[in-house]
């Protein structure tokens, strides 16, 4: 037994120059260990891209077959919030990259600071995402078969962007009164009916008269007064498969959100280890790998943002 162990020890120590506590027993050198980790991470990122790839394909197919649902649906996404979120994520990617650099240089304080900043960015992103989601959900914009939007939600989205709170409230009243009718199957037919009904019933109070119906209106007066009509926004009619857009929207951003959460856990773990001063010029693999992962999460969002928010 003793002879045997000796043989192994010799074999093992031949290559081990570093004797680093971070060197796992089955690697010969820290370099080899680092390269293995890095290759593994890149492969993992490839699988992540392919995982999202399925969703991107679904997006492409439906965008191709039913462009109208994207044309319609994107009105409900707020490019401002989306844009802020994009900026937040890019910034957090920057702080993450800086963290890797500081880890390599062994600057413990800056490393910790940058990790915390990255975490703040991630929290900010999810916070804004929460606002976006809840804003949709209070109006019944749920994915798939639960999609049951308030009748006036579209007007509100369009006009709300111009800052007309009064109209928004007006819309919501009607939605709650007509909400019951739109439940259940065949929601599409009923909803167009009720849209017309509510449009008729609605007295023209406030600055705007809002029409959802596609029926061309009779001119309201002499030629000279038609100018007012121009101020009515052109409201697109809700296409039959509108809910598919929101299904895709929630799935894509939801899966991305889950990745943000996972990324936060990973960053938190690296932060914890950094508080114990584990990283330095010899050993910074975990910071590097988590950084790679975080950049991928960022990158995916950079594709999601224009695909979903910036449709024209």
């Amino acid at each position: 037994m003793t002879t045997e162990t000796q043989v192994i020890d010799e074999g093992g120590h031949d290559h081990e120059h570093a004797h680093s506590p971070h060197l796992q027993h089955h690697f010969d050198t820290l370099d080899q260990q680092f390269n293995a980790g890095k290759l593994g991470m890149w492969l993992f990122l490839a699988t992540e891209i392919l995982l999202f790839g399925g969703l991107f394909v679904a997006y492409a197919i439906y965008r191709n077959l039913h462009p109208e649902i994207f044309e319609y649906g994107h009105h409900f996404l707020d490019p401002k919030l989306g844009g802020i979120n994009t900026a937040v994520l890019i910034l957090s990617s920057f702080t993450m990259a800086a963290a890797v650099r500081f880890a390599q240089e062994g600057k413990q304080g800056m490393l910790k600071l940058c990790l915390v900043l990255t975490l703040c960015g991630a929290c900010g992103f999810l916070g804004i995402k929460y606002i976006e989601y809840s804003h949709k959900m209070v109006h019944g914009i749920f994915p798939g078969k639960y999609y049951n939007p308030d009748e006036h939600i579209l007007e509100e989205e369009l006009l709300g962007a111009h800052g007309h709170g009064a109209v928004a409230e007006h819309g919501r009243d009607h939605a709650s009164s007509s909400g019951e009718e739109t439940h259940g199957e065949g929601a599409h037919e009923e909803s167009t009916q009720s849209a017309e009904a509510s449009a008729q019933a609605a007295p023209a109070e406030g600055e705007f008269v809002i029409e959802k119906s596609q029926i061309v209106e009779a001119p309201e007066g002499p030629e000279g007064m038609v100018g007012i009509v121009h101020e009515k926004p052109e409201l697109p009619k809700r296409p039959e498969k509108a809910h598919v857009f929101f299904g895709i929207y929630y799935l894509m951003t939801g899966l991305h959100g889950i990745h943000v959460l996972i990324g936060m856990c990973a960053i938190g773990w690296v932060f914890f280890r950094s508080t114990r001063g584990e990283f330095g010029p010899d050993y910074f693999t975990p910071v590097d790998l988590v950084g790679l992962y975080w950049h991928l999460v960022d990158l995916i969002w950079i594709y999601l943002f224009p695909l979903l928010y910036l449709i024209h």
């Binding site: 045997e4 593994g40 078969k145 299904g247």
Partner: protein
């Protein structure tokens, strides 16, 4: 005592001290191990259990089909649907896909490289736990109200049936990640853990097979993951991607599914081909013929496998797409045939020894040829319209999945058994098990080709009386095969307790894992292994006393 002198002319070790099986004891030491050898053994045990479960379901299916009308007491048509779904899902996701890479690959791969472990041992253990979790979900579905969609989960049925589809799909999703992490681990290990001098073209062909498999695992499996997530979302939320009720396209699901599952059939077969490439030269005592051709054909198969998925949907695509997919499917058979010809050429003029592993290798050649060639009938547009969704397809894929992959798996298990457990099994009973299984298999599935040609649809509970004779024959074959597998099981398990201690190199193989003791030390090698041509048997000498081989040069040097 395993001193240098002890490793001389392969003396049986009895108990090798410090071997991986005994250096730590207790259940916990297994459940927390990061040793690739132990993880391989744990996979082996669990996969065998799943194989048994799936096999029981198979027997119920064949019993039901023994005669037309209701046959098994208490089994109605709906139950029958659940039974064949469970059979298919368990066998595919729990047994055949992980089988060879996770059980045998885990054990052998680092040793073939002369490495101490895979690149990420903890990830390796995590993969095993993912496998177990996935299995638990699959069994949950069984207990709740087993899914009855078939293993392919086709929409819209899978989005509307009342059975527990979701646990089954979650299970398959988790198993997918287990498979991804195994593949990732293997790719990194092969890239980064090779010792100096072990170039790509000195790798044993089993590693080329595993490598090609790992590429598919990494590229295809995430797509299965997202497909199953979308299926779950469709069931729960009705997002309208696959389900026509909500405006979705059911054929899109089939495209997504087969984009994974066609490559997945090569996840099953490539490692099997790798095992055959190891066993045939060893038992022919001849260098492998066409090493580079076999190596490259593994990669070629992996690449081709991604562009042929459409052949599962000839009924649902445009004529142009059909023609393209048909043509590409034909091209896949070229690299497969390259391998078969090379194996045959390896045996030519070799001195063939019909040991149990070699019997399995020969069975493989025979069965894979039938399975592969019948694939061409299915790849032909005209014939596939007739044969699609009949027993012909069932027979085809059983010839390749069971007749080839499972046979190679069991053959490989016999081949590496002495290394893994340090015990020799009984040659006689090994042979008997192999021959009975082989006969039973053919009696089961040859009649199914005929049934399919005559129009017997797959997945039916009942059939017209004209089909009775062939169905009966098939069922009898299945029971014979079951007996053969049990003989094999007993032969192997018996050897654990009563088998003779194995020498280090019982077959005279030249690849590196045989330079370790049997069973290996927990660090794999007691002295740095020598890199050489893995198929050069010239200086391996038989030592009748130890009933094993040793290297001439080495013996002299050390003596």
């Amino acid at each position: 005592m395993a001193t240098t002198t002890d490793t001389l002319p392969g003396r049986p070790y009895g108990e090798v001290e410090g071997n991986y099986l005994t250096h730590e004891r207790g259940l916990l030491s297994w459940l927390t191990t990061v040793d690739h050898k132990r993880i391989g053994v744990m996979y082996l045990a669990c996969i065998s259990g799943a194989f048994l479960l799936g096999g029981i379901f198979a027997m119920v299916i064949r019993w039901e089909l023994f005669s037309p009308g209701p046959t098994v007491p208490g089994l109605n048509a709906d139950r029958y649907n659940q039974i064949f779904t469970l059979h298919g899902a368990i066998m595919t996701f729990l047994v055949i896909i992980p089988g060879i890479p996770a059980a045998l690959g885990n054990f052998v791969l680092p040793m073939m490289l002369g490495a101490k472990d895979v690149a990420f041992p903890r990830l390796n253990l995590a993969s095993w736990y993912l496998w177990v979790t996935g299995a638990i979900f699959a069994v949950t579905s069984l207990v709740m109200s087993a899914a009855d969609t078939g293993w392919t989960f086709y929409t819209p049925y899978s989005t509307t049936t009342q059975t527990a589809v979701i646990p089954m799909t979650i299970g398959a999703f988790i198993l997918g990640f287990s498979s991804i992490f195994t593949g990732l681990n293997f790719i990194v290990t092969i890239h980064k853990m090779r010792p100096d001098g072990l170039t790509w073209f000195k790798l044993p062909l089993f590693l080329w097979g595993i490598y090609a498999t790992a590429i598919i695992q990494i590229i295809a499996t995430p797509v299965l993951g997202i497909t199953l997530l979308l299926l779950i979302a469709e069931r729960v939320l009705g997002v309208g991607i696959f389900d026509p009720t909500y405006g979705g396209d059911p054929v899109l699901f089939q495209h997504f599914f087969w984009f994974y599952s066609h490559p997945a059939v090569y996840i099953m077969i490539l490692p099997a081909m790798g095992i055959i490439s190891e066993m045939i030269p060893v038992f022919s005592r001849k260098h492998i013929f066409g090493y580079t051709a076999i190596a490259y054909s593994s990669i070629a198969i992996a690449m081709f496998s991604f562009i042929v998925w459409g052949h599962h949907m000839f009924a649902a695509m445009s004529p142009l797409a059909n023609m393209v997919f048909s043509a590409v499917t034909f091209s896949v058979s070229i690299p497969s045939a390259v391998k078969v010809f090379n194996w045959t050429a390896t045996m030519y003029k070799g001195s063939i020894r019909l040991a149990t592993p070699m019997l399995y290798a020969l069975s493989f050649l025979f069965l894979f040829t039938i399975g592969g060639l019948t694939g061409l009938y299915l790849a032909t547009l005209g014939t596939d319209i007739h044969l699609h969704d009949t027993y012909f397809v069932v027979a085809h894929f059983h010839y390749v999945m069971v007749g080839s992959t499972m046979i190679a798996f069991i053959g490989g298990l016999h081949y590496w058994w002495p290394k893994i457990f340090g015990k020799m099994y009984s040659e006689k009973w090994g042979n008997v098990g192999c021959i009975v299984t082989f006969l039973g298999f053919n009696i089961t599935f040859l009649p199914q080709f005929v049934l399919g040609m005559r129009g017997m649809p797959r997945r039916y509970y009942d059939y017209i009386p004209e089909f009775e004779a062939l169905h009966r024959l098939s069922s009898i074959g299945a029971f014979i095969m079951g007996i053969g597998l049990f003989v094999t099981l007993f032969c192997l398990v018996y050897s654990l307790f009563k088998g003779k201690p194995a020498p280090d190199n019982p077959w005279g193989s030249a690849s590196m894992e045989w330079q370790a003791t049997s069973p290996p030390h927990y660090h794999n090698f007691t002295k740095p292994p020598k890199v050489g041509d893995p198929y050069d048997y010239t200086d391996l000498v038989w030592d009748p006393k130890s009933e094993g081989y040793y290297r001439k040069a080495e013996g002299q040097g050390a003596a």
